[in-house]
Symmetry: C2
Subunit: 197 residues, 2 copies
């Protein structure tokens, strides 16, 4: 017997539980352990709710959906640290294979919807994708500042790297957030949170 | 100097990082550890996206916002296990105090919005609150079934308790989900996932 729509949906819902076991580099604010992709995605969604006013004309529902699904492919492809240039080389191929396997657990129309959301997020062209990207970079930035730059120093990340990572915010993000980031970087430099150039 | 709106928002965003350290009773599907409130909230939001079609007339954006914020009060009040009748007695007072402290970190208009979403979720009267409640009960149910009822047996939870906990789904939820739950309970009974009556 063909599985019903609900059975297909529940299979997907149980499969994506694995996102809770994909660890990121970022430490929690309390320093107790590293963050995982599922709680990171929750944090981004809350940030979209709270910071939406700084992104005029934003489709909030679409942005929320995007940030909720944007890391699902890491269930198979793993988290690729933003500052690891070697691992970023085959990231696209690994993530596209993951999208195919995971999203195809869903009924066809929903597979297409989630796949389109993920591709739009990755392509970084729409207002919603840019908001998602700004917030996806701001969240670990805030956590890293709270942790006195622990992960930056561990990985030899310089302030120039962090500026490069937040370039989309500086170029296309809200001025108030760009200014905040630049001020925080300046302050962090004076407190030696970064590796030396 | 008064903190800017963005500074108030960022203070709140960093404070709610603590939701990642509030542990629930439910085990992850892979059995490696218990789930925390932040990843649970992410899972609910994804479920709202995937299961919305079973809730006619649903305001999806409002439902997503509700499930994203519904557990924030547990940062101060802790997670109260649904089947612990003693701890549930002063749950309301603890959670209202938490809502006051946490949400007041935000600018006034946003404090009011989040507080209203949380109260609507708790009051269980609107279509969106009922959807949130159905999914908030379905998620641990699915994880507990996947874990062969480990937590139910640990806590002496009977199948009658589980039916009581999912009563809102049976009374006001989509028939297809109610039928699914009843069928799964029957199957779980035959596999001895529950404590004896």
């Amino acid at each position: 017997m063909e599985p019903s729509r609900l059975e297909q949906q529940i299979k997907f819902i149980l499969e994506i539980d694995k996102l809770k076991t994909v660890l990121r580099q970022t430490w929690l604010v309390d320093g107790s352990r590293r963050e995982n992709d599922a709680e990171h995605s929750w944090h981004l969604a809350l940030m979209v709710m709270i910071l939406a006013e700084h992104f005029p004309g934003l489709d909030i529902l679409k942005t929320l959906k995007m940030v909720l699904v944007h890391d699902l492919v890491e269930i198979d492809a793993g988290d690729t640290y933003a500052y690891d240039r070697e691992a970023n080389k085959d990231k696209d191929a690994r993530e596209h294979a993951a999208a195919q396997r995971l999203f195809s657990l869903l009924p066809g129309d929903q597979q297409a919807e989630i796949d389109a959301l993920w591709r739009e997020f990755e392509a970084l062209r729409t207002r919603e994708a840019i908001c998602g990207a700004v917030i996806d970079r701001l969240q670990p930035f805030l956590l890293n500042i709270s942790a006195d730059g622990r992960i930056w120093r561990e990985h030899g990340v310089t302030s120039a790297h962090v500026i490069w990572r937040n370039q989309i915010t500086l170029d296309q993000g809200p001025k108030v957030i760009a200014d905040y980031i630049l001020a925080q970087i300046k302050e962090a430099e004076s407190r030696h949170f970064f590796a030396a150039d």
